[in-house]
Every structure is written in structure tokens, then in C-alpha cells.
């Protein structure tokens, strides 16, 4: 098994606010992230696909194809967007790293038909990231 990883970067804004909680609770739990005007990050996304190299092409999957999937599913949807308001898949969810990475997994998993999506890592900052991987696959 070979693991192939491709990286993309996108920039987006968001804010954390749960309408079911009081203003005070929102501020206590989410701190600065609760600023109603929102704030932004440069996100880095690493997508890892696992598979055996095709004996003819030597590729697990064609990187061009992966690039196109990432452009269509992620860049067009999230780059330079306000995640709370412009990404329907995040509607009703707090756009934390954990939730965004799960949405990204759901968008990519059915599109990867050569090899299998193994892991998605989303950096919100260099110091904070979330990993999403196939249950039982182990974090590699």
C-alpha cells in the first residue's frame, strides 16, 4: 500500500456562535472566535489517498485528477468564502476545524475512485489542526 498526499491552501472567514446558548455563554466558550463580524484563517489541507500503484501508469491515482477534485469540491466551495453563510454543508454547525474536516471528508470520499481516501488533515493555523480518517484505519 502506498500513501499519496496532496496539499492545498485556501483562505476563509468564520465565527463561532451557537444560537441555543446565551450571549454570555457564547463569549465564555468561544472567546475571540465569537466576534460577530467573524475573522479569517489561511487553511492548509492535506489529503492522503491510499492504494496500490497501477502497474501500467505507476500511479495510485493521477495527481491531475486529484487536483481537479480538490479545486471543484473544496477551493470553489470554501476559498475566500464566509464558511458560516456560504457553505451549505456547514449550515447549522459551528465551523470548527473538527466540523470542517468532517465536511471535507464527506465531500471527497465519494469522489476518490482510484485508491481510497485515507486521511484528511486541515490546519487552521500551524499550531492547530484536525485529522479525519477512515475508522479503524489507524492514524498513519
Amino acid at each position: 500500500m502506498v500513501y499519496l498526499t496532496r496539499k492545498i491552501e485556501f483562505s476563509a472567514s468564520h465565527l463561532y456562535h451557537n444560537p441555543a446558548l446565551s450571549a454570555e455563554e457564547n463569549r465564555r466558550i468561544f472567546g475571540k472566535c465569537n466576534n460577530p463580524h467573524g475573522h479569517g484563517h489561511n487553511y492548509t489541507l492535506e489529503v492522503t489517498v491510499a492504494g496500490e500503484p497501477d502497474p501500467v501508469t505507476g500511479m495510485v491515482l493521477d495527481l491531475k485528477e486529484l487536483r481537479e477534485i480538490l479545486e471543484r469540491e473544496i477551493m470553489q466551495r470554501m476559498d475566500h468564502r464566509f464558511l458560516n453563510y456560504e457553505v451549505p454543508e456547514l449550515k447549522g454547525q459551528i465551523p470548527t476545524c473538527e466540523n470542517i474536516v468532517r465536511v471535507i471528508w464527506g465531500l471527497l470520499e465519494p469522489r476518490i475512485t482510484q485508491g481510497k481516501l485515507h486521511k484528511v488533515r486541515l490546519y487552521e493555523t500551524p499550531e492547530l489542526f484536525a485529522d479525519c480518517y477512515r475508522n479503524g484505519a489507524g492514524a498513519r
Binding site: 463561532y16 451557537n18 441555543a20 446558548l21 466558550i29 468561544f30 472567546g31 454547525q93 459551528i94 465551523p95 470548527t96 476545524c97 473538527e98 466540523n99 474536516v101 468532517r102 471528508w105 470520499e109 488533515r121 500551524p126 499550531e127 492547530l128 489542526f129 484536525a130 485529522d131 479525519c132 480518517y133 477512515r134 475508522n135 479503524g136 492514524a139
Partner: protein, 148 residues
């Protein structure tokens, strides 16, 4: 695949500390041969990076596995306060008897963090410099037994 994918949260922390690699079980000459420059009796230091990964259910009301303020506070108290700007050999109890190689530093940090009450510690990765890194995820077999 009925349970859906698994999600982990990763956070990077930094501390700077000095150490000296010297094993009392080895002769002076062997220490010098095994540890090279790291055996310098005056010690030397590094800017360490500690990457902590935790897992757990994502709370739908916060979107979080764990509130970062809680994780940061725990790591600060358990690790950073104890290690930052310290001599690991002289000032961290665990390294009075053990050589503070980054393998052991990584395992010691794992031991200190594994009781974090708000999420499950998955693994600790320690970068001693930007060119070397060590990971420890506990003893897998014991962990599996404990989970089931």
C-alpha cells in the same frame, strides 16, 4: 464503515530546555562514542515542539472535541511549566534516572498527558529540532484491552 470517519484534534506547543545525554551504565569513553556532542558535560539546549493529538466525540453544541482553552491549560500545567527553560536532567524528576533522549521525553510527556479527563490522548510527537521527530502512542496492546 457504519460509524463514519474518526476525527482527531492536533495542537502544537513549544518549550525550550537543556539536556545532556549521559548514561551512568556506560564508561566515559562509551558515553562519548554513543552520544557524541550531546555528551558535553555542560549540556546544551533545543527548542522542542510538542504535537498532541486527542480524539473524542465532537460536541454538537460547540463543534469541538475539546475546548482548546482546557487542553492548552492542561498541557501548560503538566508539561510546559515543568519543562520550559529548565534543565531536563536536573529539574525533571523522571530524568534523574533516565537519559533525556527525545524518545524518553516523548514518552514522559505522553505519561503526563494520558490522564487528560476531557478527551482521549491518541499520541504525542516531539520534534527536538526541525530535522528529527519522535512519536509515542502508548503501548498499543494494553490500550486496546483498556478500550474494550
Amino acid at each position: 464503515m457504519s460509524e463514519g470517519p474518526k476525527i482527531e484534534l492536533g495542537r502544537r506547543y513549544r518549550f525550550s530546555a537543556s539536556h545532556r545525554l549521559h548514561s551512568p551504565q556506560l564508561s566515559e569513553e562509551e558515553n562519548c562514542r554513543v552520544y557524541g556532542k550531546c555528551n558535553n558535560p555542560y549540556g546544551h539546549g533545543h527548542n522542542y515542539v510538542v504535537e498532541v493529538s486527542v480524539s473524542g466525540a465532537v460536541d454538537p453544541s460547540t463543534g469541538m472535541i475539546v475546548n482548546l482553552a482546557d487542553l492548552d491549560g492542561f498541557v501548560q500545567r503538566e508539561v510546559i511549566d515543568a519543562f520550559d527553560h529548565k534543565s531536563l536532567n536536573e529539574e525533571v524528576e523522571a530524568f534523574r534516572e533516565r537519559v533525556p533522549t527525545t524518545e524518553y521525553v516523548c514518552m514522559e510527556i505522553y505519561q503526563r498527558l494520558k490522564h487528560f479527563p476531557l478527551a482521549r490522548l491518541e499520541r504525542v510527537r516531539v520534534e527536538e529540532t526541525s530535522n528529527n521527530a519522535f512519536e509515542y502512542a502508548g503501548e498499543e496492546i494494553q490500550d486496546r484491552v483498556a478500550v474494550r
